[in-house]
Symmetry: C2
Subunit: 154 residues, 2 copies
DNA sequence: CCTGAAAATCGTGAGAT
DNA sequence: ATCTCACGATTTTCAGG
């Protein structure tokens, strides 16, 4: 999909606050509400807007611990790799999974309510998985910035 | 704020798809639309719902590179620490900043359009900052899972 | 592609329980 | 706390440019 400045501006506004009404968006970008409506629908259909979500404060729901984990595999055989990816991705406590180049293979961002929940998770995800060589745990003392915002200044 | 099962269910639905209409939410949780409306307003006012955002596909807007960076500081003097935090948080390419325990001090998640943009960023954020001892770069080959979802099964 | 109007849907507050 | 109902606003569709 080809994006023009209107689309970029709309994306920028919506990734800052997706509750902005289409009427207000139309004023800010100088288009009619119906044009805005059509463009947003197209951006969603094309997958440029992947989802629209409420961002929940983990602390407010009793899950204050964020943990980063570096994971190194034993074998990078494709089927085993795929299996590990799936087990990570399917875990609800795992918010993010990156497959990376360098000293280790995966970086995970994990949310738990306490360390005992994390300890249980390590057993499920790492110890009993079979293909994990090592993993290194980093506990976040502070979540200084947490977003999925993509720079969109044209 | 104290959350009951209705709130948890609403949060769960909204963090999966915040475009779900309050009418549909009301059917799914067995409440009236106005009750849903009031609860959502309360969750927002209390900061349980921090924001509502459109999640944009970085690749679709020409910014396909995700980079993870481990940063170690020279000094953790409080004022210098604060300065570094701010410079990271204020950078639009920096999506996430975690201050962590362990071998290094910060983990960053960065989005760039290409490596030359990242190279420029390293100069601004690390080399010319003065208080950075080392940083280690990991390029994401694959973003296997990227969300901010908090587990909300009661 | 756009605008503008009509139709459908939605969010929200009042009043009652 | 909740519900129902009604109003106003918003979203969405559609005709015409």
């Amino acid at each position: 999909m080809l994006l023009d400045n209107y689309d970029i501006k709309l994306l920028s506004l919506l990734q800052a606050d997706s509750k902005t009404s289409q009427r207000q968006l139309s004023e800010e970008v100088n288009l009619s509400p119906s044009a805005v409506n059509r463009r947003i629908a197209a951006l969603e259909a094309a997958g440029v807007i992947m989802t629209t979500v409420a961002v929940v404060d983990p602390t407010a729901v009793g899950r204050p611990i964020t943990i980063l984990v570096e994971v190194k595999l034993e074998s990078e055989r494709l089927d085993l790799l795929d299996q590990v990816k799936k087990s990570f991705a399917n875990c609800v406590q795992v918010q993010q999974v990156y497959y990376v180049t360098g000293d280790f293979d995966f970086m995970l961002v994990i949310n738990v309510k306490d360390m005992s929940e994390y300890e249980k998770l390590t057993r499920e995800l790492f110890f009993s998985a079979g293909n994990i060589k090592t993993f290194k745990t980093y506990v976040a003392m502070q979540r200084i910035k947490v977003s999925l915002n993509v720079p969109l200044t044209i």
